[in-house]
């Protein structure tokens, strides 16, 4: 059955949400934001090597989707993967240490920002190759189907990545085999430095679901509650054995493609306007305060706790040792 792509508005009133869930959504979004602000600061200060791609402004998506997953469910992430990893429940200290290239990091300093994985929470890896995660998520879902373990796999990707051949191969295979996979497109309007509409044949990536006979959904990715509610619906659908779904979350990339990107392809005003009007954290704060579910003090308390945790993560990373050159050959083969 093909569902036409629809922009879902949240239907559950904010006051009906579980308070703990709202606090958790807020904590995750703020954790991602503050974590990445520190990463940006330390990258620009020269403390962090390599390439860093930030998720700032897109926190509502990873947070809203992941709130519907269990620790056992699998995710495949992207080069812009810090947010997904934090939302899936990874340890902030070990993440920060990996980004700093330290021995105490998730990958013992062998991965860096683009190659963080935490298999203990079902996070099967970020990927430096755009579109590299689709087929791996399909394979993890195949494993779940063969074992009948009830897990689902979620793969995150951008609008640009939806033009990779792997997207189409993965959608077809997942659909043909009715595998439990959720394809989450984070349409942030920028394929590296190119506006996606100049290189993409459809305005809405969700429409591509129809070509594979699976449902396609669209949602406002800057509204974490919309993402939460829609992904709850599709996660239930997938978990019930109906096969894959394509979910497109409309958002905007607030930061450059990478930290240090001169961003000659757009104006500062354009970015600022989106950020001012569509910042998922601010929008969430306004909603919950207006609904009277959480107070400014409640939010500030969470914010303060997260700030302290991020400070601790930076301290942990800075004080951690670098890997020893003798570890170069470790983990090449089992």
């Amino acid at each position: 059955m093909c569902a036409k792509a629809i922009l879902k508005e949240p239907t559950i009133p904010v006051k009906n949400y579980d308070r703990d869930l709202l606090i958790e959504l807020y904590r995750k979004m703020v954790s991602i934001r503050l974590f990445e602000q520190k990463v940006e600061h330390h990258f620009l200060a020269g403390d962090i090597p390599g390439f860093v791609h930030l998720y700032i402004g897109e926190e509502g998506i990873g947070t809203g989707v992941m709130a519907n997953l269990t620790k056992e469910d699998y995710i495949e992430s992207t080069h812009r993967g810090h947010g997904h990893t934090i939302a899936k429940g990874a340890d902030l200290n070990r993440m920060m240490a990996e980004i700093f290239g330290k021995k105490t990091g998730y990958c013992k300093g062998k991965g860096g920002s683009m190659h963080i994985a935490d298999f203990s929470v079902g996070m099967l890896g970020a990927n430096g190759i755009v579109g590299g995660g689709y087929t791996l998520a399909v394979g993890a879902a195949l494993a779940s189907k063969l074992r009948e373990d009830g897990r689902i796999s979620v793969v995150f990707f951008g609008d640009g990545a939806s033009n990779r051949g792997t997207f189409h191969e993965a959608l077809n295979m997942a659909a043909a085999w009715k595998l439990p996979v959720l394809f989450v497109c984070e349409n942030n309007e920028w394929a590296s430095t190119t506006p996606y509409l100049t290189t993409t044949s459809v305005a809405d990536i969700a429409d591509r679901a129809q070509g594979y006979g699976i449902p396609g959904y669209m949602v406002d990715g800057n509204d974490v509650l919309s993402v939460y509610e829609t992904s709850k619906e599709v996660v239930d659908y997938i978990r019930s054995g109906n096969g894959p779904v394509l979910l497109e979350c409309k958002t905007y990339r607030i930061k450059g493609h990478f930290v240090g990107d001169p961003e000659k392809y757009r104006t500062k005003e354009e970015v600022q306007e989106v950020f001012d009007n569509n910042n998922p954290i601010n929008r969430f704060e306004e909603k919950v305060i207006e609904a009277g579910v959480l107070s400014r003090e409640d939010l500030d308390a969470v914010y303060g706790e997260v700030e302290a945790a991020i400070e601790e993560a930076v301290r942990y990373a800075l004080e951690s040792p670098e890997p020893d050159p003798s570890e170069l050959f470790d983990d090449l083969y089992v």
């Binding site: 495949e76 998730y106 994985a117 298999f119 430096g128 087929t135 791996l136 063969l146 074992r147 983990d331």
Partner: protein, 327 residues
């Protein structure tokens, strides 16, 4: 001497699959035309009857997704075997092999293993031409994190495949298409051929010949026999594993014979022979009494027309002439 039976190379790989799938229900196989057709070389015939079409899975024509899905399933705790139909098609899914399958264990700090096997029927058969005849092992020897094997006979085909399935590293298993119907003695009892260990096929004192896969049977062996008739005592080594390469076996043999020739079906330029020659030049130059000789196919794609294909094929007589110049 252990009891043996005479079976084909194809049957040997089938037995390896059957034994390992019975033993371990995380092992499954997927590829194009493998369940309904039994594989184009008959190497999967009957397997779905034993294990069903979930574990012996016909895929869409989608090599990229086949390899990627195998990597993902391996990361999720399974032991997939992915069939590439023809080795040439591995080049369709370069990213999945080079960047994912080979690297995720290392770049994620050893958190998870990738216990998968990629079966890749390779090499020349009659007039299959440029995109269905390649020998690609050198490309994969160059990628850290992969293991690459290439058996030359039914016994090793079974033993190496069983080892590959049980190996926690990703293994590319090259099986030469011309070997599938060849017969050989295979032990009846369970056994394993170790990955990373070359086999001394015949011992000798004047010349070491290193070869592998079908080329060992159809070229290197005849060359060795002709050389023996010329009074040259040949030590013939079946490399069996392309990566990690068994340096010790090669160096020990060259220390004994003082001469080295490498014969492989893949094109000579950039081939495995170059790696072996470099190893001996770096670590065993003092052993040598003559320059190392490499023999490989000419540096062209495999042509279609019979006279051209014949011109392309390695000629034992010509190789013998080259070898005689080493003395």
């Amino acid at each position: 001497m252990a009891e043996t039976k005479k079976i084909t190379f194809s049957q040997a790989t089938l037995e390896a699959m059957q034994e390992e799938m019975e033993r371990d229900d995380t092992v499954f196989v997927m590829g194009e035309d493998i369940a309904r057709q039994g594989g184009i070389f008959g190497q999967f015939k009957g397997l779905p009857d034993s294990f069903g079409s979930d574990r012996v899975r016909d895929t869409p024509i989608t090599e990229t997704a086949i390899v990627g899905a195998a990597v993902g399933a391996a990361l999720a705790g399974m032991r997939p075997i992915a069939d590439m139909h023809f080795a040439d098609f591995m080049l369709v899914c370069g990213d999945e092999i080079y960047n994912q399958m080979a690297k995720v264990h290392y770049m994620f700090g050893g958190q998870k293993t990738v216990p998968m096997v990629l079966r890749a029927p390779d090499g020349l058969i009659n007039q299959a031409a440029a995109q269905h005849s390649q020998s690609l092992e050198a490309i994969f020897q160059h990628i850290p994190g992969l293991k690459v094997v290439a058996p030359s006979n039914p016994a090793d085909a079974k033993g190496l495949l069983k080892s590959a399935i049980r190996d926690d590293n990703p293994v590319i298993y090259f099986e030469h298409k011309a070997l599938f119907n060849t017969k050989g003695e295979v032990p009846v009892e369970e056994y394993f051929t170790p990955i990373g260990k070359a086999d001394i096929v015949t011992e000798g004192s004047d010349l070491t010949i290193v070869s592998y896969s079908n080329c060992l049977q159809t070229v290197a062996k005849p060359v060795a026999e002709m050389a023996e008739k010329e009074g040259i005592s040949v030590e013939l080594i079946d490399l069996r594993t392309i990566s990690p390469i068994d340096k010790d076996a090669i160096l020990e043999s060259v220390a004994k014979t003082s001469r080295l020739a490498i014969i492989h079906e893949a094109v000579k330029q950039g081939g495995v022979g170059g790696e072996i020659a470099a190893i001996v030049a770096e670590e065993g130059l003092d052993y040598l009494d003559a320059p190392i000789m490499r023999f490989g196919s000419p540096f062209t794609p495999v042509p279609f027309a019979r006279p051209l294909e014949q011109a392309y094929r390695l000629k034992p007589e010509a190789i013998l002439e080259g070898i005689k110049r080493m003395f």
